[in-house]
C-alpha cells in the first residue's frame, strides 16, 4: 500500500498515512486530485479505479471515505477487506464509531492504524490481537510505567 486517506463528503481530510516518501507539495497535490476524483464518482460505481500508475480502492462508510492506493500487482478485493478490517477495529474501540470520534481522537485512530498496517503491509489480521495491544498501551499510558519489561 502506498498511502491511505480518510476524508469527508465535503472533501475535508481527516486522516492521512503515507507509506512512501513524497515531498509535502506532491502529497497535497495527490490528495487534492484524488479527493476530487473520488467525490465525483457516483454511488453505484465500483470501488476501484485506476489513477495515474496506481490502483485506488475506496469505500464510503457513512460520511467518511476510506481510500487506499495500491500497486498494480496488489489485490483490490484484499484492500477492500483491509479497509473493512480497520473500520471494524475503530468500531470496536470507540463503540459505534462515527466521524466525530475520529475527528476528536484522531491520534488514537492513527495508533490503531499503525497496529493494523506497518510499512504499507497488514501486520495483524487478528482483530483481537490489535485491540489487545491498543488496550494494553492505553492502560500503560494511564498508569505511566517506567522502563521495565512487560509480558503481553
Amino acid at each position: 500500500m502506498q498511502f491511505m486517506l480518510l476524508f469527508s463528503r465535503q472533501g475535508k481530510l481527516r486522516l492521512q498515512k503515507w507509506y512512501v516518501a513524497h515531498p509535502d507539495k506532491l502529497k497535497k497535490k495527490i490528495t487534492r486530485e484524488l479527493i476530487t476524483t473520488i467525490l465525483a464518482r457516483k454511488p453505484k460505481m465500483s470501488s476501484f479505479l485506476e489513477w495515474k500508475d496506481l490502483k485506488v480502492v475506496y469505500k464510503r462508510y457513512a460520511s467518511l471515505y476510506f481510500c487506499c492506493a495500491i500497486e498494480q500487482k496488489d489485490n483490490e478485493l484484499l484492500t477492500l477487506e483491509i479497509i473493512h478490517r480497520y473500520v471494524e477495529l475503530l468500531d470496536k474501540y470507540f463503540g459505534s464509531v462515527c466521524e466525530l470520534d475520529i475527528i476528536f481522537n484522531f491520534e488514537k485512530a492513527y495508533f490503531i492504524l499503525d497496529e493494523l498496517l506497518l510499512g504499507g503491509e497488514i501486520q495483524e489480521t487478528s482483530k483481537k490481537n490489535v485491540l489487545k495491544a491498543i488496550a494494553a498501551q492505553d492502560l500503560l499510558q494511564e498508569v505511566s510505567y517506567g522502563d521495565t519489561s512487560i509480558e503481553l
Partner: protein
C-alpha cells in the same frame, strides 16, 4: 490568554466554520500553542495536547514547523506514553530526509535495545517512517537481534521493518533474507504471516530463498485449510485468508509445480468458493485462478476455475464483476477460449457501463481477446475512450494507445487498410514519443506496405484526402499535419506543375501556421511542424526541379518570426541557399536514379575540407530529422522495372544524410545535442524503428574518414511488410465484436465499408480533441 484546554475545545468547533474563520482560529491557536511549547515549565501532558493540535493543523493545511523539535524531544526523553505521542508526531510531521529525523536515529537505536517491549515496538514502528535509506545500516544489526525476540509482538514488527528496509535499500538488506526465511517455522501464526509477505517481495530477486521454503508453505496451507490455526485468525468464515493469499501467490514462483501443488490450489479453491459472495473469498479465488493460469494448468484444473470466473462476471456487485473481467483477461492471455453469449453480454454491458473504471477494464480485456474480425472496432473503442476520458490521465492514455498500436501491428490488412485508419485516429491523441512512433508506422505502411502496388496507391490517395480534410479543421494536431505535409511531398507527381501545386499548398499551410501563433507562444510542436513543412518543400523542389517565389517569402518570414530558434533559421537558410540551384540538384538526382554508375553521395571530394574543419574544432552538422526514402528494415534491390515506377516513389540515397538537403522528415528523430564531438554524434547511425540491426556504418571518426563504406545500401526484401446505448447500438456493437448477426440481417453477411472511406466522412474536429472532464 486562554488555557490550552480551552484552545483544544475551541479548535473542535473549527469544523463548523467558514474557511476564513477557520484559518483565523487555527492560526490564533497555533500562536498560543507555540508560546506554550516554548515555556520551560510546560507539563508533558500539555505538550502532548499541543503536539496533537500541531498534527491536526498540519492535516488541515497549516504548517506548524515550530512543533517539530518538541516532537523530537518528546520521543527522545519522554516516558512511555510521551514517547508514543512523540514518535507519532515525528512520523507525521517529519520526513526521512529532514535534518531532525537524523537526530532520531540514535534515539530509535537506543530504544531498540530497551528491555521494555513496548518501547522496542514503538521504535520499530518509527523506523518505517523516520529512517532514511542511508541510515538503514545503523539499525540492521540490532534489527537482526529483534528477529529472535521472545515476544511475537516484537518479532512481527521486526520482520515488517526489515521488509520495509529491503524495499528502500535492497542492496543492503537482501542478505538478511535467509534469517527471515527460517522464521517461516515460527510458532506464532502472526509472525509467519509477515514472513510470507516479506518472501513475496523478495521472490523475484532471490528465487532460491523462496524455493527452499516451498514444502513448508504447502504444510502451512494444509494446516490452515484443516482449521488448525487459532480461532482469532478466522475472518468471515475463512481461516487466515491473508496468509492463504500470500501462500498461493508464492506458489506462482515455482518453476514446475507437481500434482500436489495443483491439488493444494484446487483444495484452496473448493474451500473459498462457498464464500465468494464476500470480497475476501473472491480474493482467494482470484489468487488461485491467477496461479493456475500462470502455470498454464491443464483443462481439468482449469475447468472449475473458469466456473468461478463466470460467477464473478455474472455477479450483481460491480466490484466482483470488475474482478471477473480482470481475471478473464488473465485467462485469455494464456488460453484462446470462446465466450458464451451470456459472457459476451456481460462484456458488452461493461463496455457501455457508466463507470469509467469498468469501461477501462473491459477495453483492456477486448484488446487481449481481439481477433482479425473485430480488431478494428476494438481500436475504435480505445480511441473513443482515450479521447473522451483520458485528458488528465496520461498513464492510461499511454497504456491504451500502446495496446491499440500493438493490435495494428499484429492484424495489419493490406486490402482494407483498417490499420492506417486506426493509426490516423490515434495520432492526434498520442503524446511525444508515441506520436512519433505512430507517424513512423503510417509512413512505413504507405511507403512499403505489403500487398499489390495498386492497393497501396489507392490507400495513399485516400490518406491524402483524409489528411487534407483534417488540415482544414479549426483545431489541428501538429503531428497529423506533419504526416500530411510528408505525404504531400512524398506522393506528388514529378512534373513541374505538380510540384508547384504542392509547393503552393505547403506555403499556404506554413503561412497559416505562422500567422495564427501568439507572440508569447513558442511551442516545440509548432517549430517541428514548420521544420517538416520546410523539409517537405525542399523534397518537392528537388524532385520536380521547380520552386515558387512565395516559398522564399515564407522562409524569410519564418526567419524573422518569434518562433524561429537557431535550428529553424538554419533550416530556412539551407533551403534558401539551395533554391537558386534547384534545377541542377534535380538533374543530378534524376541522373543518379537512371544511371547504373554509383554516385558518391558521401561527398568524398570534400573530405580534406571536413578533416581540416574538424581538426580546427568546427561543429559537425547534425540534422535534427533524417530522411529515409528507402524505409527500414529493407527495400527491394530495385529491378530495372522500378525505374519506370510511378513518379510518386522517387528513392533517394538513404545511408548518409545529405548536408545540403535532408529531404522529408520525421522517420527518425534525434535529439538535438549541444556537444559537437563527432565521436559523440550518433547521427551517422540510422536507427531502425523496428530492428536495431540495420545501421549505416559510421563514416567519420576521430581517426578520419572510414574506408570501404558503401555509398548505397540496397538489401534484399526479406519479408513483405504487412503494410477498429441504445439497443440497436448494442446489437451493432455485438455484431462487430463477436460476429453475432444483427436482427433483421439474417442470412446476409454484414458488409463493412472501407475504413478509410468511413474516416473521410468523419468530423475531424471531434476526433482530434481530448475532452476535458473538468469543465
Amino acid at each position: 490568554m486562554a488555557s490550552c484546554a480551552r484552545i483544544w475545545e475551541s479548535s473542535q468547533c473549527v469544523f463548523f466554520m467558514r474557511e476564513n474563520e477557520e484559518e483565523w482560529l487555527i492560526q490564533d491557536c497555533l500562536r498560543l500553542v507555540k508560546g506554550k511549547l516554548c515555556e520551560p515549565s510546560t507539563k508533558p501532558s500539555t505538550i502532548i495536547k499541543c503536539l496533537a493540535f500541531s498534527i491536526f493543523s498540519e492535516l488541515s493545511g497549516y504548517k506548524a514547523e515550530f512543533a517539530y523539535i518538541h516532537a523530537v524531544k518528546l520521543a527522545q526523553y519522554g516516558s512511555l506514553a510521551e514517547k508514543k505521542m512523540g514518535y507519532l508526531a515525528c512520523a507525521f510531521l517529519l520526513r526521512e530526509c529532514d535534518s531532525l529525523s537524523v537526530l532520531l536515529v540514535n534515539t530509535i537505536f537506543r530504544d531498540l535495545t530497551s528491555k521494555n517491549m513496548y518501547v522496542v515496538a514503538m521504535a520499530l514502528s518509527a523506523s518505517c517512517h523516520l529512517v532514511s535509506p542511508d541510515q538503514v545500516t545503523v539499525l540492521l544489526p540490532v534489527l537482526e537481534e529483534k528477529l529472535k525476540h521472545p515476544s511475537e509482538y516484537v518479532r512481527s514488527k521486526a520482520v515488517i521493518v526489515l521488509h520495509h528496509f529491503c524495499r528502500v535499500s535492497p542492496q543492503l538488506c537482501l542478505q538478511y533474507a535467509n534469517q527471515v526465511k527460517v522464521m517461516v517455522g515460527d510458532r506464532d501464526p502472526g509472525v509467519v504471516a509477515h514472513v510470507l509477505q516479506f518472501l513475496i517481495d523478495v521472490a523475484e530477486d532471490l528465487p532460491g530463498v523462496v524455493m527452499d521454503v516451498m514444502s513448508a508453505l504447502v504444510q502451512i496451507q494444509n494446516q490452515i485449510l484443516d482449521g488448525k490455526l487459532p480461532h482469532e485468525y478466522t475472518y468471515k468464515g475463512l481461516h487466515a485468508p491473508w496468509m492463504q493469499i500470500s501462500i498461493i501467490r508464492l506458489l506462482q514462483y515455482l518453476q514446475e509445480p507437481s500434482m500436489d501443488i495443483y491439488m493444494l490450489i484446487q483444495k484452496t479453491l473448493q474451500n473459498a468458493m462457498p464464500q465468494m459472495q464476500n470480497y475476501i473469498g473472491s480474493a482467494i479465488v482470484c489468487e488461485c485462478i491467477a496461479t493456475l493460469v500462470k502455470h498454464k494448468a491443464g483443462d481439468e484444473m482449469l475447468a472449475s476455475a473458469l466456473l468461478c470466473v463466470v460467477d464473478l462476471m455474472g455477479s450483481t456487485s460491480s466490484n466482483l464483476r470488475y474482478e471477473g473481467l480482470s481475471l478473464l483477461e488473465k485467462v485469455l492471455e494464456q488460453y484462446r477460449l470462446p465466450l458464451s453469449p451470456a459472457q459476451q453480454d456481460v462484456v458488452l454491458s461493461s463496455l457501455c457501463h457508466p463507470d469509467q473504471a469498468m469501461k477501462r477494464r473491459t477495453l483492456s480485456l477486448l484488446c487481449t481477446m481481439a481477433e482479425a474480425h473485430n480488431v478494428e472496432i476494438v481500436c475504435t473503442q480505445v480511441a473513443d475512450y482515450v479521447r473522451d476520458h483520458c485528458a488528465h490521465n496520461p498513464y492510461i492514455q499511454h497504456d491504451l494507445i500502446s495496446r491499440a498500436l500493438a493490435l495494428t501491428d499484429r492484424f495489419q490488412n493490406s486490402q482494407t487498410h483498417w490499420h492506417i485508419a486506426a493509426l490516423i485516429r490515434l495520432l492526434p491523441l498520442a503524446q511525444d514519443k508515441q506520436a512519433k512512433a505512430i507517424q513512423r508506422r503510417i509512413q512505413l505502411t504507405l511507403l512499403a506496405g505489403s500487398g499489390n502496388l495498386e492497393d497501396i496507391i489507392v490507400a495513399r490517395s485516400k490518406v491524402l484526402h483524409i489528411l487534407a480534410k483534417y488540415a482544414e479543421s479549426k483545431t489541428v494536431s501538429t503531428s497529423v499535419i506533419e504526416v500530411y505535409v510528408w505525404c504531400l511531398s512524398q506522393f506528388c507527381g514529378a512534373k513541374v506543375d505538380d510540384g508547384q501545386q504542392v509547393l503552393e499548398k505547403l506555403v499556404s499551410l506554413g503561412c497559416k501556421v505562422l500567422r495564427n501563433q501568439e507572440p508569447s507562444n513558442v511551442s516545440q510542436g509548432i517549430q517541428n511542424l514548420l521544420i517538416s513543412i520546410i523539409h517537405s518543400a525542399s523534397h518537392v523542389a528537388e524532385k520536380c526541379g521547380t520552386t515558387i517565389s512565395s516559398l522564399e517569402e515564407l522562409l524569410q518570414e519564418i526567419m524573422k518570426s518569434h518562433l524561429a530558434d537557431a535550428y529553424l533559421r538554419h533550416t530556412c537558410l539551407e533551403l534558401l541557399a539551395s533554391l537558386p540551384h534547384i534545377s541542377v540538384i534535380h538533374r543530378a538526382l534524376q541522373r543518379s536514379i537512371r544511371s547504373e554508375k554509383q554516385f558518391d553521395f558521401t561527398l568524398s571530394f570534400v573530405d580534406k575540407f571536413v578533416c581540416e574543419s574538424l581538426a580546427a574544432n568546427a561543429m559537425p552538422y547534425q540534422p535534427k530529422l533524417l530522411h529515409i526514402a528507402v524505409p527500414v528494415p529493407e527495400m527491394t534491390s530495385l529491378p530495372s522495372d522500378s525505374m519506370t515506377a510511378p513518379p510518386d516513389t522517387v528513392a533517394l540515397p538513404s545511408t548518409c544524410p545529405s548536408p545540403v538537403s535532408s529531404g522529408t522528415s520525421s522517420i527518425i528523430d534525434f535529439p538535438r545535442s549541444e556537444s559537437f564531438s563527432s565521436e559523440d554524434s550518433k547521427s551517422w547511425s540510422l536507427r531502425s524503428p523496428q530492428k536495431e540491426d540495420i545501421l549505416a556504418k559510421p563514416l567519420w571518426s576521430r581517426e578520419g574518414r572510414t574506408k570501404n563504406v558503401d555509398p548505397f545500401v540496397y538489401v534484399g526484401h526479406k519479408d513483405q511488410l504487412a503494410v477498429v446505448t441504445s439497443d440497436s447500438e448494442m446489437q451493432h456493437l455485438a455484431s462487430l465484436l463477436f460476429n453475432r448477426q444483427e436482427p433483421g440481417a439474417a442470412g446476409e453477411e454484414t458488409s463493412q465499408g472501407d475504413p478509410l472511406d468511413e474516416l473521410l466522412n468523419k468530423d475531424f474536429q471531434k476526433l482530434s480533441v481530448l475532452k476535458s472532464e473538468r469543465s
